[in-house]
């Protein structure tokens, strides 16, 4: 037996399918407002089909859906009746053609020219079409003629094609005794991650991100989310990353339950080059980055990214995501002119500078002291007055120890050595 749910008013996407899955495991989405349920095997749960139909109507009403429900022994009859008849319709076995007979032909969704042809023949209802001989229809409409007749009689052409159930990559582990400390937690995580990663691999997927939720003994929930640069389905890598993250962000209390949820993504397909240098495996890279991030304070690990600013040394930290090795012609270093590099002191060294007629004549800083032999400057620069203002005068000065760049912070009125030019 089949049930059909139709909603004349446009329901939210997936709402009908979600409702149908609460009643039957095999459901088919036959259109944006029509869902079919295979009720085979539900006889013990729902001995009375009318009770099942009423339950479907009530479930729709709870969700604010004005449903039309039909139960029949063929999916075609159930679908046509659900679209045409309000409320609940229950058809006894063998009564499909009789129940469909008074319904209009427009329910079949025929092309306009074919519908006009049937209208010219004087056909208005499904019953009139079903009463025509199959041979005559085939002679006039071709192979589609008998098919229309079968549909009008409520006969199925194919079995129900169930929609695949939504994939869920989530596992939970409830503990009899609370677990405190990272070492026992690592073993428990391994018990969750191995089947989870095996499930991902079976589906040809990888985890782009992993969410870990610990339910603690004091009722709090400690949730962490990891999204490494490359997707992975390696349980060892994920366990290492989670433990490193928990070391940096400890839960504070013992855990009573663990829940791990993976965000699946398609498996990676990479064609490595024979000529480029070998690249690190993404899993190994993610693990190394996780370790580096755990060593730095507040996870300040990543790749520097220049900011769109004239402020010297302005940068931000971005996720380290190396591009694929680009093929480029090797350049000859002999043909490339060398450039002077600034070896920056981070932070800049506070300095005392003696001026003569506004020009530096003597510089003294930590590990650096001497008269100015030659200089160029000043170059005045400022910016970000609307946020964190900065303003400075830069000089390049030649000291006995070498060539240095110094600057005067005009807002704080202090001198600094920014770096050495070499």
């Amino acid at each position: 037996m089949f049930a059909a749910l139709a909603c004349p008013s446009s329901p939210p996407a997936g709402a009908l399918l979600e409702l149908a899955r609460e009643f039957a495991p095999r459901v088919e989405e036959a259109g944006p407002a029509l869902v079919l349920l295979d009720l085979a095997g539900l006889g013990r749960l729902w001995p009375d089909p009318r009770a099942l139909g009423q339950a479907l109507l009530e479930a729709g009403a709870v969700r604010g859906l004005a449903l039309q429900v039909a139960l029949a022994h063929t999916r075609t009859a159930a679908a046509l009746l659900a679209r045409a008849v309000p409320g609940l319709t229950l058809i006894v076995p063998g009564g499909e053609a009789t129940a469909l007979a008074p319904l209009p032909l427009a329910l079949l969704g025929l092309p306009p020219e074919q519908q006009e042809l049937l209208r010219l023949w004087g056909l208005r209802t499904l019953g009139q079409l079903a009463a025509l001989p199959a041979r005559g229809l085939a002679e006039r409409l071709g192979p589609g003629g008998p098919r229309l007749r079968r549909l009008a009689r409520g006969e199925d052409e194919r079995p129900l094609a169930p929609a695949p159930p939504p994939e869920s990559f989530e596992l939970q582990l409830d503990l009899e005794w609370p677990v405190d400390g990272l070492e026992p937690l690592a073993f428990l995580l391994q018990r969750l991650l191995e089947p989870l990663c095996a499930q991902l691999v079976r589906r040809g997927r990888r985890a782009a991100a992993l969410e870990l939720e610990l339910r603690l003994v004091d009722g709090r929930r400690h949730a962490r989310r990891l999204a490494p640069p490359a997707p992975s389905a390696d349980p060892r890598t994920w366990r290492t990353l989670l433990i490193l993250d928990l070391e940096a962000h400890p839960p504070g209390e013992a855990a009573q339950a663990l829940r791990v949820r993976a965000e699946p993504t398609a498996a990676r397909r990479v064609q490595f080059s024979l000529l480029d240098p070998a690249q690190p495996a993404p899993e190994a890279l993610a693990e190394t980055l996780g370790r580096l991030s755990a060593w730095t304070t507040a996870g300040r690990g990543g790749a520097p990214r220049l900011l769109d600013s004239h402020r010297p040394g302005a940068y931000a930290l971005a996720a380290f995501n190396p591009p694929e090795a680009a093929r480029r012609e090797p350049s000859s270093p002999l043909l490339t002119p060398g450039r002077v590099a600034l070896r920056a002191f981070r932070p800049p060294l506070p300095a005392e500078v003696a001026l003569q007629a506004g020009v530096p004549r003597f510089v003294a800083a930590a590990g650096l002291r001497g008269p100015v032999l030659d200089c160029a400057g000043p170059w005045r620069a400022s910016g970000d007055w609307w946020d964190e203002a900065w303003a400075r005068d830069e000089w390049d000065v030649a000291l006995p120890a070498g060539l240095f760049r110094i600057f005067r912070d005009r807002l704080q009125d202090g001198w600094y050595v920014e770096g050495e030019l070499d």
Partner: protein, 94 residues
């Protein structure tokens, strides 16, 4: 590139000499080139080539004044210890 140019020479001399041998062995069997920058000749016991770079002259544009710019450095590079060969080259700042 291992850049130790900003480190005090005294601190570098206190490093055990085996450190440089270990570094050399790490890269000998690979296609990696290790470039060590230091203010003095510190890796004395390791193999490889040593290049002594000295800033010979600063090059400035124009006369002293606000419009003056640093044009670059003339650097002298010396290779070899017994019979050093010296080459002069320019590093540009502009």
């Amino acid at each position: 590139m291992l850049d130790l140019a900003g480190a005090p020479a005294g601190d570098l001399r206190r490093l055990p000499a085996t450190s440089w041998v270990r570094l050399e062995r790490l890269v000998t069997s690979t296609r990696t080139a290790l470039v060590l920058l230091a203010p003095a000749h510190v890796a004395t016991s390791a193999g490889g080539a040593t290049l002594a770079l000295v800033a010979a002259r600063h090059q400035w544009s124009g006369v002293a004044g606000p419009a003056r710019l640093l044009r670059g450095l003339r650097v002298s590079a010396a290779a070899g210890r017994l019979q050093p060969r010296t080459v002069l080259f320019d590093l540009h700042a502009l």
